[in-house]
């Protein structure tokens, strides 16, 4: 007896027979448009964030793959340049070779880095590319050597930051 009674009351309520006053409707065309607009704006920013984060993750794994080895190799270049500087005049051809080798390392590193470390690597690569072995001076090679050491230190710092991120 009770269950049919409840069902009848529910039916009346839903048909508006009991409460004759018109209820404010939420799902109007206007509110739906507003909600959809807001959702598309939010999803736009979400897409940008996902895009940014994907690029960040991609560079993270690209660096993890070969970055540490390249940093060691670049350090090897700076070490050899320092050795050649013991007798600059005797080792000018070897210095040019070593600088050319370091350009290749920096080029690979640049594609794996992000942020200030990438900018520093690019700046050094351009500086070495502009260096002319025949017209270059010992002072210039010394400056390149010191900048190379600084770039290696900076990339190592970048590497340490990545260690904390993962």
């Amino acid at each position: 007896m009770i269950l049919p009674g409840i069902l009848i009351i529910l039916c009346l309520l839903s048909s508006g027979a009991v409460n004759s006053q018109p209820e404010p409707q939420f799902f109007t065309e206007r509110t739906l448009t507003l909600v959809a607009s807001a959702a598309s704006i939010v999803s736009f920013f979400l897409t940008i964030f996902v895009l940014y984060d994907t690029r960040r993750l991609r560079s993270f794994y690209k660096f993890r793959g070969g970055g540490p080895t390249l940093v060691k190799e670049l350090r090897g270049c700076s070490q050899r340049i320092s050795e050649f500087l013991n007798e600059y005049d005797e080792f000018i051809p070897q210095l040019s070779e070593e600088l050319a080798r370091s350009i290749a390392k920096l080029d690979s590193l640049e594609r794996k880095l992000r942020g200030p470390a990438k900018v520093s690597a690019r700046r050094l690569r351009r500086r070495i590319s502009n260096y002319k072995a025949d017209a270059g001076s010992e002072a210039e090679v010394r400056e390149i050597y010191l900048e190379m050491v600084k770039v290696v230190e900076e990339i190592k710092g970048y590497q340490r930051d990545l260690d904390w991120e993962r």
Binding site: P68, Q79, S82, N86, L146, R166
Partner: protein, 142 residues
């Protein structure tokens, strides 16, 4: 990179240049006893001393044993570590440059930079007289 760190690299670079230009002369010496208190874990073979504008500098490389770490904080280490895991214990080297006080003790240690390793190589090159040796050899050969 912090400017402070750059300053130390530049300073060590200047010492390297002075050494390579033979304006700074390094003399090999026996290491003081306090540097070899635990020879089975850390040892110094030789130290090099130089005087620069009334200040004494001491440069040395110490070898130390690296034991296997108990736990690793990170599950992901460098890929290279997985491919070629280090065999523990192993020995490695570190270069130290000190500014000495009047009694010969290390009053202050330069921050670690890779230029110090290159400085140590240049000092060994100078102390061993490699340049003179090469000149002599080449003079005889010609």
């Amino acid at each position: 990179m912090p400017i402070e760190k750059n300053k130390w690299i530049d300073a060590a670079g200047k010492l390297l240049q002075l050494t390579q230009d033979e304006k700074l002369e390094w003399q090999p010496r026996d290491p003081p006893a306090y540097l070899n208190l635990e020879p089975d874990r850390k040892r110094v073979e030789v130290v090099y001393e130089a005087k620069y504008k009334d200040r004494k500098l001491r440069l040395y490389q110490f070898s130390y044993k690296v034991e296997q770490p108990r736990t690793s904080l990170s599950a992901f280490k460098d890929l290279a570590t997985y491919v070629n895991p280090p065999v523990y214990p192993y020995w490695t080297r570190k270069t130290v440059l000190e500014l000495l006080d009047h009694s010969g003790f290390g009053a202050w240690t330069f921050p670690e930079t890779e230029v110090l390793d290159d400085l140590a190589a240049a000092v060994r090159y100078q102390a061993a007289g490699v340049k003179e040796f090469l000149d002599e050899i080449l003079a005889v050969a010609s």
